[in-house]
């Protein structure tokens, strides 16, 4: 049926019409016959937040090839190695194809009916006995917009709990709170075009060459064409990025806070700032200090912002002299002076780029604020080719987690549950009474797993992510998950993972082009794709799974759609219109290689807040931070001090441990680990050690070392000459390896404002094993 129908489909218009008529369930792909009987469709890559376009080749119901999409503006035909092997990620031998229910120590195959009945009964029981806050959903920045939207709507407007969080809390939350506190609107003003148009690029704690490879190659390309281009890499580890940068500046972990204040100090001291821009567009503020680390259960924090004057800010910066910060950071005072001058150089178009080094930081919100400070002081913001740009790690961390708002405190389009007006608006669009949406946020991700451990959360559904490998201080939360009692865990995934092994029910999911989808990347670009192949066996879309639970709980009325994806999108779109977050009609995305919001009158926006580019800025206004009404439409420069990490090396644990990614493996490796070529290229986690440290420990390259923190201990192979080089007193371990779960060693300290844990800094000791 599906195939013969596909043969009818020659044009996307016809495809869309057919999809609408049949509820969008089957084969609405942009297909047409090409050589070799392969049919091609477009989709964004399944992996990182870069959001490269790929062409997907399908033959006999299977993906047989993928290519870099030459028409995609993000990547212009290029992919990284993960993108090139997309055709293999769905076809690992151990794909989950049937629902599984735990019977003692065994997982037994079951029908969808049995599994969903059991799940619904557990939800009902728990809600009746312990209230709606005893059930929770943990989702992901890999959720499609539809999946995230359905889950948020079911939990907030149906079940009536704010117990919903994405794994994006582990990776992007500090970027969000940085944007919100400085601009009162999430997501960047600039876009990837800045990578081609600028000439000075500061990378802060971002190994772009491995983690955002296609964006990095745009930078390298820019440099090849324009000899003025300089790439300066601030890091605590010498990476492939450092090696390709013009300058590598090593700093001691956590001292980025002090360095950015020192740069601001010099800019203010020497009057290198843009006075006009500051007068028109900036206010100054300070918040609380000594704000803690969230190490205790139920830790609570509320900032108390106070206005300050430019002079008071100048006073605040006084102690951050290049000499003082040089001692703290290990960066020569002369280098700090040079960097500040580069930032302020009026003939240079300056950009800052960052990812997890800033976000996974116990002062993540602060360090995001501090980099904006430098751009606001110099007025190098909201201009083509000069912007601060927060990069994201997941394909729809922006589109789903942040824009749909699948956090405990958020609602779609920058709204929050704490605000009555926002709740009213959401309730109206969702067709429920405003009282239905609870006004108080509950748990952010780390607290959610603590609540599960304590037993406050009983039923937890995990979709499209692997928290029992990726949470920090992992052992506590793994044990907590299997403590028994009323606890009941459901995990939806496409392969067996370290999370499915702890589940009571495992649901087999459809992935990527096995379903219709929509992702939003780091430059505000929304990208749609159609379903191109059937999922294997009985595997089903997570969207269907969520709606099926809704139906069984009596909330089916929340999802009254026929062509589910399209109608749901049009409903969601209502939240965005007129808010400076405007999405285009669904139809527009089926043809375009993505569109950057706000999309007004069919036109996308490259630079937000900027006259001539952003339709919300009127003629003559130049730049207007129009989302920041509470601050008179100005951006905020924050006085945020340096404060130390939650746990620093000491006698007993003398090394810093940093964790992260490598090029070939993505996240917890559940997909890339099933591609033989990628596995062969980088098969297992190793421990990068500086050769001098290794020598003292009598460890040679390839020897086994035991790495131990206060929370856990594992044995790894020492790597003294890998592609990344640890600095003295530091070690680095990638977190993808399910057999070497380094997150057992990580501390679950987090930024009190964002709730995002610091995976980049804790103390460990090393022994030859």
């Amino acid at each position: 049926m599906a195939l013969s129908r596909r043969d009818f489909l020659k044009a996307s218009a016809a495809a869309a019409a057919l999809a609408a008529a049949t509820g969008g369930r089957l084969g609405a792909t942009d297909v047409h016959a090409a050589e070799g009987g392969i049919r091609w469709g477009k989709a964004p890559c399944r992996f990182c937040g870069t959001g490269c376009g790929v062409l997907v080749g399908v033959k006999d119901g299977r993906i047989v090839a993928t290519k870099g999409d030459p028409a995609a503006p993000v990547n212009k035909g290029l992919n990284c190695i993960k993108g090139y092997f997309l055709s293999k990620v769905l076809y690992g031998k151990d794909r989950l194809t049937k629902p599984l229910i735990r019977k003692g120590n065994k997982m037994v195959e079951a029908s969808w009916d049995e599994a969903m009945d059991l799940i619904a009964s557990k939800f009902r029981e728990s809600i009746a006995k312990h209230g709606p806050d005893s059930v929770a959903m943990f989702g992901s920045g890999q959720w499609t917009v539809f999946e995230g939207y359905a889950a948020a709507k079911l939990f907030k407007a149906g079940i009536g709990t704010n117990n919903i969080e994405p794994n994006a809390r582990f990776c992007m939350a500090s970027a969000v709170t940085g944007f919100m506190t400085t601009f009162n609107s999430d997501e960047p003003m600039g876009c990837y075009d800045d990578l081609d148009l600028g000439d000075t690029y500061f990378l802060w704690g971002a190994n772009m060459a491995e983690c955002h490879p296609v964006l990095f190659s745009r930078l390298i390309d820019n440099r090849l064409k324009n000899p003025k281009v300089k790439i300066i890499d601030f890091g605590t580890r010498f990476t492939r990025t450092s090696q390709m940068a013009d300058k590598y500046i090593r700093f001691n972990p956590q001292t980025d806070l002090a360095l950015l204040n020192a740069i601001a100090h010099i800019i203010v001291r020497d009057r290198l700032y843009d006075e006009n821009f500051i007068r028109k567009h900036v206010v100054f503020k300070k918040g609380k200090t000594n704000i803690g680390y969230g190490l205790e259960d139920k830790f609570k924090f509320a900032d108390d912002p106070k206005p300050m004057t430019f002079d008071e800010y100048r006073e605040f910066l006084k102690p951050y002299t290049p000499e003082y910060v040089s001692k703290l950071s290990g960066v020569p005072a002369k280098t700090i002076e040079e960097v500040a001058r580069l930032y302020a150089d009026k003939s240079r178009k300056v950009n800052s780029l960052w990812t997890m080094g800033f976000n996974q930081h116990v002062r993540g919100t602060w360090v995001n604020n501090l980099v904006y400070n430098v751009h606001l002081l110099t007025g190098k913001i909201c201009k083509p080719g000069e912007n601060p740009m927060s990069l994201t790690g997941q394909p729809s961390a922006c589109g789903t987690a942040r824009e749909v708002g699948t956090f405990t405190h958020r609602l779609p389009a920058d709204m929050v549950v704490m605000n009555e007006e926002h709740r009213k608006k959401a309730a109206e669009i969702w067709g429920v009474p405003a009282e239905k949406i609870p006004a108080k946020p509950t748990y952010h991700a780390t607290e959610m797993f603590r609540a599960l451990d304590r037993g406050d959360i009983k039923v937890l559904w995990v979709q499209v992510t692997n928290p029992f490998q990726s949470a920090p201080n992992l052992s506590r939360y793994r044990k907590g998950a299997r403590k028994g009692g009323d606890r009941f865990i459901i995990v939806s995934d496409i392969y067996p993972t370290r999370s499915t092994e702890l589940a009571d029910v495992v649901l087999p999911s459809a992935s990527w082009v096995e379903k219709e989808g929509f992702f939003g990347n780091a430059e505000r670009r929304g990208q749609q794709w159609f379903k191109m192949v059937e999922p294997p066996g009985e595997a089903r879309n997570d969207l269907w799974q969520t709606m099926e639970l809704a139906r069984r709980l009596g909330h089916g009325n929340l999802f009254p759609y026929k062509y589910v994806e399209k109608e749901m999108f049009e409903e969601y779109r209502k939240f965005t219109l007129g808010q400076g977050k405007d999405l285009a009609p669904y139809e527009a995305y089926t043809k375009a290689r993505g569109l950057r919001w706000p999309v007004v009158n069919g036109k996308e926006t490259l630079w937000r807040y900027t006259e001539g580019y952003d339709p919300y800025v009127k003629a003559g206004e130049g730049v207007k931070f129009y989302k920041n009404k509470p601050n008179d439409y100005k951006a905020v420069i924050w006085a945020r001090p340096y404060e130390p990490a939650a746990e620093a090396p000491d006698r007993q644990y003398p090394f810093w441990l940093c964790t992260g990614r490598v090029l070939e493996q993505w996240h917890t490796g559940t997909m890339t680990g099933r591609v033989p070529e990628l596995k062969r290229a980088y098969g297992g986690a190793v421990c990068e050690i500086h050769p001098e440290d290794a020598k003292r420990l009598k460890v040679k390259h390839g020897d086994k070392v035991r790495v131990t923190s206060r929370r856990g201990s594992i044995v790894l192979t020492a790597d003294l000459r890998g592609r990344g080089k640890a600095e003295k007193g530091n070690v680095f371990v990638a977190f993808f390896d399910e057999n070497k779960m380094i997150n057992e060693l990580c501390i679950d300290a987090y930024c009190p404002i964002s709730g995002e844990p610091d995976y980049k800094k804790c103390a460990v000791k090393l022994e030859k094993a």
Binding site: R5, G68, D69, F85, I220
Partner: protein
């Protein structure tokens, strides 16, 4: 089934006037498909040691012009070689070259 099919035909009929237009802007177009590049070849040898601290210099030492029997890169302007070319199985004859 029958009903579905007639519905489909109805849709096709409705969509017909759009077809000529849609054909031109087919997504993706035949041209795009033929231009697009697929999986890049893997390195059949170990990654060479850095040259003057640079990986691109090390790769391009041979692959820019195709020296020492190495295939010439069709796109030497792309400098982040290992973004796409990962290490594959090391062929016997390459075993001695480079270091792991």
């Amino acid at each position: 089934m029958k009903k579905m099919l007639s519905l489909a035909i109805l849709c096709m009929a409705l969509a017909l006037p759009l077809m000529a237009l849609a054909d031109e802007e087919e997504v993706p177009s035949a041209k795009e498909i033929s231009e697009a590049e697929g999986v890049p070849p893997v390195m059949p040898h170990a990654a060479p040691p850095l040259k003057n601290g640079s990986e691109e210099a090390a790769c391009l030492a041979c692959h820019e012009e195709g020296k020492n029997g190495a295939p010439q890169s069709p796109h030497a302007e792309r400098r982040a070689c290992t973004q796409c070319h990962v290490q594959g199985e090391i062929k016997e004859k390459h075993k001695k070259k480079g270091k792991r």
